[in-house]
Symmetry: C2
Subunit: 443 residues, 2 copies
């Protein structure tokens, strides 16, 4: 039986407390790209504050600013006569974190001029304590006490995203896109009722609307599903931030920063447009399939007639890991006679040459006969927590692709997703076919 799609009209309103709630609002670089847009962000914040919410805001650098700063850092040593870019990640962090610092100060000023009490907070001031991995630090602890204190007195906290302070008392950045993680971490630290991620799309869709115009915005999606969507190419949210939200139970609401701030109802119980990422318990009518994701620019490598002995997988993937090649799908069949097998896996297109060269060097150790490689593959994935309790989801996908003449190269599955590797030429066709076969294009 074909699983039915989730109907967004059935979505219940947020279980927001009728009393005052505590909100984190996060705005990315395109939402704060210039002074006018920062003013627009201030209007969004004012709306929530006026509605009686306690508000903390996390901001990114103005769009383009981080790229400029990163470019300076990377170019500097080259100018100084070096061939390969070399830079101290601690200095990188010092330079690049200045972008969020500027946005935070400007937004605080914009809010103040609109009559909203506000102050900016830098990572070291809160403090947001991180580990010492400069350039891609992880948050270890956020002291939310003073921010909670001031929110209680009506002050909006404007927090510079993307940054914390390391054990060495120096600025540590969380890696590109780290502002989402900042916002979720902050929400956990101040025990926020919700973390609103304002972005240039108005939510999470059943699939990419550029490929399938019938894609619909999901009113809710579970953390687990969003993790699969995010890591499979839906660029709405950083994977890390969703992981963090799952661990701390932070409900994320993805919404558009380009909606008119004046036209949005922020009163308790209202349901603004967007997608709530939450625990699956909160999703009343859980559907079997939630969305179709895809990832482009994959390359397939097959090692033929590999000797099927213990340790062969380590012999293949050890050298690849050392060479920093990110291996994704891995398929190994049971060999017929227990002596040789075929091993297939995917790597990013851009790493294919490197991967092939690494494997050729390790040929004797691995003991394969032929290395076949095919660039230009696409991985299409069917995602839904409902798969756990429903049979037949996979066979529905295979049947549909077969009917559309799409050749399946490899398949991997997890508890809540089925990933299928196909030729890039069939990507759009496959996405549309799967979107339709699970009824995702229907109201």
């Amino acid at each position: 039986m074909l699983p039915t799609s989730r109907s967004p009209v059935l979505a219940v309103p947020f279980p927001v407390k009728q009393s005052m709630s505590r909100l984190v609002m996060k705005f990315g670089g395109t939402s704060v790209a210039n002074l006018d847009l920062i003013r627009n962000v201030a209007a969004h914040v004012k709306r929530e504050a006026d509605a009686g919410h306690q508000v903390a805001v996390a901001v990114s650098a103005m769009a383009g600013k981080t790229n400029e700063l990163v470019d300076w850092v990377q170019t500097m040593p080259q100018i100084a006569g070096q061939n390969a870019p070399f830079f101290d990640a601690r200095e990188y962090d010092t330079v690049v974190a200045s972008g969020e610092q500027v946005t935070a100060g400007l937004l605080a000023i914009a809010l103040q001029s609109m009559g909203v009490e506000a102050r900016s907070w830098l990572g070291w001031q809160i403090p947001v304590r991180t580990n010492g991995i400069h350039g891609s630090a992880r948050i270890e602890e956020i002291d939310g006490s003073e921010i909670i204190n001031r929110m209680g007195r009506g002050q909006v906290a404007v927090v510079a995203g993307f940054q914390g302070v390391g054990p060495d008392n120096r600025i540590a950045t969380l890696g590109r896109g780290g502002s989402d993680t900042s916002a979720v971490g902050l929400a956990a630290a101040i025990k926020a009722d919700r973390c609103d991620i304002y972005t240039d799309v108005d939510g999470v869709y059943t699939t990419d609307p550029r490929i399938e115009p019938k894609a619909r915005r999901l009113s809710r999606i579970s953390f687990e599903e969003m993790l699969e969507m995010a890591s499979l190419g839906a660029k709405v949210l950083q994977v890390r931030s969703v992981e963090l939200a799952k661990v701390h139970g932070v409900r994320i609401f993805v919404r558009s920063s380009f909606d008119d701030p004046q036209l949005i109802d922020s009163s308790p119980g209202s349901t603004p447009p967007g997608t709530l990422i939450c625990d699956e318990d909160e999703i009343v009518e859980q559907q079997v399939v939630t969305g179709i994701a895809y990832a482009k620019d994959e390359a397939q490598i097959s090692l033929r007639r590999v000797s099927d002995k213990p340790g062969v997988a380590a012999a293949v993937f050890g050298p690849l890991a050392e060479a920093n090649v990110n291996v994704d799908m891995i398929v190994q069949n049971v060999s017929e006679d227990g002596s040789v097998t075929d091993m297939t896996f995917t790597v990013p297109d851009g790493d294919l040459e490197k991967a092939a060269s690494v494997l050729e060097q390790a040929r004797d150790e691995i003991g394969f006969e032929v290395l076949q490689s095919d660039p230009g593959m696409v991985k299409v994935s069917v995602i839904g927590v409902g798969m756990r309790s429903h049979a037949g989801v996979a066979s529905t996908a295979f049947k549909s692709l077969s009917e559309h003449g799409v050749n399946i190269r490899a398949i991997t599955t997890s508890e809540i997703k089925i990933s299928i590797l196909i030729d890039a030429a069939y990507a759009e066709l496959a996405v549309r076919a799967l979107h339709s076969v699970y009824g995702l294009d229907k109201e």
Copy 2:
């Protein structure tokens, strides 16, 4: 007798210890305006480090960057619908201090790529503790211990100028041009043997070379004289930094950042081109007159027939101070019969209208008959610590100006300077005449 000029060829070399010395090097915005120039600065620093000096560097923001950030801060509330610019000075500091942060990180990277061990330091990391007057904070304490510690191990400290941290644990900036003050404060904190201020001129001159091409670079000038030169319009150094240097006995060396770093001899005992600002005890052949300074855009206000009663000066200057008008030269003659007097003073041209309006409002209280005002005045000053012990310096000036047909409007004197107010049309003539009459144009 006409005092003779100081001869720069008689200048003795720096009394630099033959052993390793500790240096602060300061580079302003035009010296770090782009990546190439930052690399040039790194070469200057490397030269000193290679010569065996322990080095700390203080840097400004890249030229134009501070103006851009200030403009954003000032424009933000206007965009938000305010008429007059309004902004929280704490947020101003947060935004604007990011400029020096970027330069410090980039210079540290440039140094590292040239094989010089270096790290950047932000105000809050050292820390540079300031008072709470955000936007124009004063340094209260700098903890130089960790920097001294690391310099001893061969690490160059690259310090973001212009910034410290206030009692509220927020970034506090020292006001425009505050990087000079940062450098001198740092030099005092780490007990540096010298603070080298690299700038776009190669030293302090006997007068402005754009007016008098025969102006000569001074090899040495005392703190007191430099204070007068700086406050009278020689734009080489911030007045505050010279005051701080005088208090802490920090020897400042003003030199050019555009000299080729490779061609400068930094070995102990060498005398690179520049001007040393030091205690007068260090100036072996102290001359009577050191330089001729001038300040443009002065306006003269004369109150005629002011009733000569106690408290009249307070009645005049109190309201002007309240209106934020900076009064400079003040001349009051003893009245003939003890009943009425004339009072003359100068204000900046741009404040003339405001000053006149304030005074008219206070006319009854002050009790003057006529208010005369003349814009377009220039103040020319003769400066030299030798005046203390030499008579006739003033009369030489008056005689020379008289011979050149320059009408003197007002005169004020201090222990080491004579200031003369004249019509702007005679400014260049007067500067040249005075420069010549004291022999400053002669080797």
